[in-house]
Amino acid sequence: MYGYEICKYVSTLSDGDIAITEGALYPALHKLETDGLLSVEIEKIQNRNRKYYSLTKLGGVEVVSRIEALEQFLSSLNKVLNPKLI
């Protein structure tokens, strides 16, 4: 996926609730690329270069662990917001 495609995809999936700002997206993509979590491929599209990002093997592993951490956090948050009455 390329930068603009990612912005649009996230916005579509969240029905417009989550809007990734461009000023935050590219620094994040570049950092993930440096960390080896994303790989880059350049393709010529209508006389210009387009940068496609994809998950590396390491990136795939990291996604799973981050999702697990997020789910755990949401579960903890849920416990705090909805405490069981004793």
């Binding site: 603009y4 590219y26 690329e33």
Partner: protein
Amino acid sequence: MKLTEFQIQELYTFTKKKGIEYIDLQDELVDHLICAIEDELSKDPTLTFETVFKAEYKKFGIFGFDGVLMDRTVQLEKKAYRLFFKHFIQFFKIPKLFFTISLFLGIYYLMTFSNLLEIVYYGVGLTALAIMLYNIHVLFNDVKDKSRKYLIASQYHLLTRLSSSIFYWILIFPLTVTDGTLMENLYVSSAMLTFVVLVVLISRAQLENLKTYMEENYPVSA
């Protein structure tokens, strides 16, 4: 609705004016703007190119492209250093470890001849420094196009830092701080020279890789 060639050029000019000199970043940001503007104009054809362009640029926040540029510079430098250490570690793993050991033993052997000690030490140190400086020279002279030069700026920082380290740790430190006694410790001085040779070899390989990457993705005519 597709943008005209003139409008695309206008976006490139604007991006350059905003200080984006990295050719890859220019391509990425211009491509983003083109996609966003074309999308908006398709949704509402009554809008003008200028209006949509301004609105899309605003989405980059109050710092505009500056934030993206600053971050890209830091990340490129980080990447250059990480690649360097990745290559460096390879020389301590099989099969390259054999080369490192042979290199160390070769230098050590040469330095056991007391009349050759200084010649070998300064010969290797100065040659390494000369090659590193030559690499920096080649790096900038090979690439005439300004926008391509910025892409390799990160390599320039790495090379200059490595060169100044060689200059200090190999040529100045042993004489000024240890008063020449460090050089006489053959294990330490052979290890230092082995390290220097590895630095030169890795820098050379990294430059070649970068050159190939640029030739493949950003040919001069682009």
